[in-house]
């Protein structure tokens, strides 16, 4: 394997030409296949380390999302007594509606929060070890997938318990989640690389994660929003993921076909942007870590 860096020699003005291979996604695929065992090991350790030494240990993986979901459902469905026209839905009630949008957003939120520290917290590793740094954000995002998987299982159980049946559309859930995963890995690359230089990003992302849930159709239908504000809902690319999930989990049919176009495009764009940014910035990490 030949590695070649080139750069011009303008003094003091780094104008770097990092050889980005012809196929950016090809190199990512190569990385994933070559280091799949390493990634698997890292994800296992990420999960076991996170809860190591705690009394309830791995139970928190389940308890944390369940509590979050329970609080939102309690506030909106029981305290505020929000009711909606459930006749169009195949599979559920308002609780199902909230959860089908909330779970994917919580997954995004966790992936974003953890990505910010993916490289920063491994400063000595990045500075001293020769290894593909790309595995760090990927591992963090993969580890963040455990929570939504458990949450989806809980949702499925709830739907089955209330309706005695689970719609066939649930079978497409893995596909949709994979599309989201692509986007999450992209966000992971982007945030983990940029936060090395701009450390405030972590705080911004945390705030964005908490309030973001209210700026997309998770707790309400788009029709409930004043028409002045509706365009913002459609401008938020994350809304399209929510609609896709609602199609699968709540309506049981394709209600928002355009969302099924936007979501994969947005995911791929995120991955492209994130991976490109990461590859451009990664050799400069050691300058600031």
């Amino acid at each position: 394997m030949e590695r070649d860096f080139t750069g011009d020699s303008k003094v003091g003005q780094p104008n770097r030409v990092i050889a980005v291979p012809e196929s950016l996604f090809g190199s990512l695929y190569g990385l994933l296949t070559l280091h799949r065992e390493l990634l698997w090991e890292l994800v296992k350790r990420e999960l076991s380390d996170r809860y190591a030494g705690q009394w309830l240990g791995a139970l928190w993986v389940v308890a944390h999302p369940l509590l979050m979901m329970a609080v939102y459902v309690f506030i909106f469905a029981y305290v505020l007594q929000v009711r909606m026209d459930e006749s169009r839905a195949m599979s559920g009630d308002y609780t199902t509606y909230i959860l089908s949008g909330l779970i994917p957003w919580l997954a995004f939120q966790e992936a974003m929060n953890r990505s910010c520290g993916a490289v920063l917290s491994q400063a000595s590793l990045v500075k001293q070890m020769v290894f593909p740094v790309e595995v760090l954000p990927i591992k963090v995002v993969l580890a963040a997938c455990v929570t939504p998987m458990i949450a989806f299982a809980v949702l499925g159980t709830y739907v089955f318990a209330t309706k005695q049946a689970v719609p066939a559309s649930y079978a497409f859930l893995p596909l949709l989640f994979f599309i989201q995963l692509v986007g999450m890995v992209g966000v992971g690359f982007l945030l983990s690389a940029v936060s090395v230089y701009f450390r405030d990003l972590k705080e911004i992302v945390q705030v964005f994660g908490v309030i973001g849930a209210f700026f997309m159709p998770v707790f309400y239908l788009p029709d409930w929003v004043p028409s002045v504000l509706q365009p913002f809902l459609y401008l938020n690319p994350f809304s399209y993921f929510i609609w896709c999930y609602q199609d699968l989990l709540f309506f049981g049919r394709v209600e928002h076909w355009w969302a099924w176009v936007v979501a994969p495009v947005f995911s791929s764009a995120l991955l492209y942007l994130g991976y490109r940014t990461f590859r451009t910035l990664k050799t400069m990490f050691a300058n600031v870590l």
Binding site: R3, G7, S9, R16, L38, M129, V130
Partner: protein, 427 residues
């Protein structure tokens, strides 16, 4: 050496690195927003070019901050360069720090397992290799304890053992051997020598131990303030490094030696040293030659006369600070350790001169400094030769350089041969 004929596995061309130093982290943001320059530039490397050949161990010499670590990091690919080219024909493994990349909560074995996987091994290869790593590190008894309980020497052992297990084409070692104990360091160096000779491994070795480099490398790079000031045969590079770093300049030393100091070297006491110098073949010279006549001269002032005292010079090697030997007047001759050669030395009242003569001088090339001691006969006979009992014990009274006349050899030989003549006279 036929290095020029061998294939270059690593080529570095016109490599430069500027660190942008921002006084405050917010200055970076300010610069990005306003476009105004808010940083100072610090050149870590400037226009460095060299080749590393297959099977070669290339030494890298330089003072702290000379750019050695930056160079290794750029070659390893964990740091970007400002300009220039690095091309490596093969995979690189590196020891850039001592075990700080280990997770302190995990056991040594778990850390090794992960480190090997980071290096690109599959879990099957890791299982095959891990026992080899543990065996080399000789940490069997503690390998399953958390790494946080390890000493820094154990960290060094684990780091080195892991890095060499990967067996990539190029190995970069940044002072990793310094924290290990003498036994393990020697084992590593021997192993490094073996793998570079037998297989196609090449290494870039950063070290402050000239002895290590001289033993292992044929060639070396000498970095000063980011510039490659010299590359070539190890003895030449080490020589000029010693000269530059230790402020050893022959002309300057000559000038200093010819000056009679107004103030004595040692504080006023019953015996004080006025000045010291060396003579080569009878001529005052700071440079002495292997196999030729050499004298170390001490000029002193004494309040009283002493009959039959013990005078000694303890010689230390300048670079390693190692004790080399003692020149004194009660030395044992080589070959007959039981029969001391007693030479009576008298210290005259007033100003006098002590000469330690070696003919021939049998110390290896290098820079030496010496301590001076003067003991009474009673101390020596009563075997109470502690410095507290000395009439005078003074450190660092002088230094000299030993060279080969034909400068064909570099290897430090240390034949401990006592000097053989210590004389005293009037100044």
């Amino acid at each position: 050496m036929t290095m020029a004929n061998r294939e270059a596995i690593l080529e570095v061309r016109n490599l430069s690195k500027v660190y942008k130093v921002y006084p405050k982290p917010s200055d970076l943001a300010r610069e990005l927003v306003t476009g105004r320059c808010c940083h100072q530039e610090s050149w870590a490397l400037q226009d460095v070019s060299f080749d590393l050949h297959r099977g070669e161990i290339l030494g890298v010499i330089g003072s702290n901050g000379a750019g050695k670590s930056t160079l290794l990091r750029i070659i390893a690919g964990v740091l970007d360069q400002t300009s220039g080219q690095v091309s490596v024909k093969g995979q690189v493994s590196a020891i850039l720090g001592l075990g700080t990349s280990f997770n302190p909560e995990h056991s040594g074995r778990e850390n090794v397992r992960l480190a090997l996987m980071y290096a690109g091994m599959s879990s099957r290869e890791v299982e095959d290799k891990i026992n080899e790593v543990v065996a080399f590190s000789e940490l069997d008894s503690v390998i399953d304890n958390p790494v946080k309980t390890y000493s820094s020497g154990m960290h060094a052992r684990l780091t080195f053992s892991t890095a060499i297990a990967v067996r990539n084409e190029v190995l970069l070692i940044d002072e990793a051997l310094a924290a290990g104990d003498a036994y393990f360091t020697a084992k590593c160096l021997r192993y490094l020598h073996e793998i570079c000779q037998d297989s196609n491994t090449s290494a870039l070795l950063v070290s402050h131990s000239m002895r290590t480099l001289v033993h292992l490398c044929d060639r070396a790079l000498y970095l000063r303030k980011g510039r490659l000031v010299m590359q070539g045969l190890i003895r030449d590079v080490v020589n000029s490094y010693e000269k530059a770093v230790l402020g050893f300049d022959e002309e300057l030393l000559h000038a200093q030696q010819s000056l009679v100091k107004d103030t004595p070297l040692s504080p006023k006491g019953p015996f004080s040293i006025l000045r010291t110098y060396t003579k080569s073949n009878g001529e005052v010279s700071p440079v002495l030659f292997v196999g030729e006549r050499a004298e170390v001269v001490i000029e002193y002032e004494s309040q009283t006369a002493f009959d039959d005292v013990w005078v000694g010079l303890e010689l230390y090697s300048h670079l390693e600070g190692n004790f080399v030997s003692t020149l004194h007047n009660k030395a044992c001759r080589v070959g007959d350790l039981r029969k001391p050669c007693e030479m009576t030395v008298h210290i005259v009242k007033g100003r006098g001169i002590l000469t330690f003569k070696c003919d021939p001088l049998l110390y290896g090339p290098g820079l030496y400094f010496y301590h001076f001691s003067l003991f009474t006969r009673e101390c020596v006979d009563g075997k109470r030769m502690e410095y507290a009992d000395a009439i005078l014990h003074q450190r660092y009274v002088g230094q000299f350089r030993v060279k080969h006349r034909d400068s064909l050899y570099f290897e430090k030989i240390q034949i401990v041969e006592p000097p053989l003549e210590v004389t005293s006279g009037e100044l």
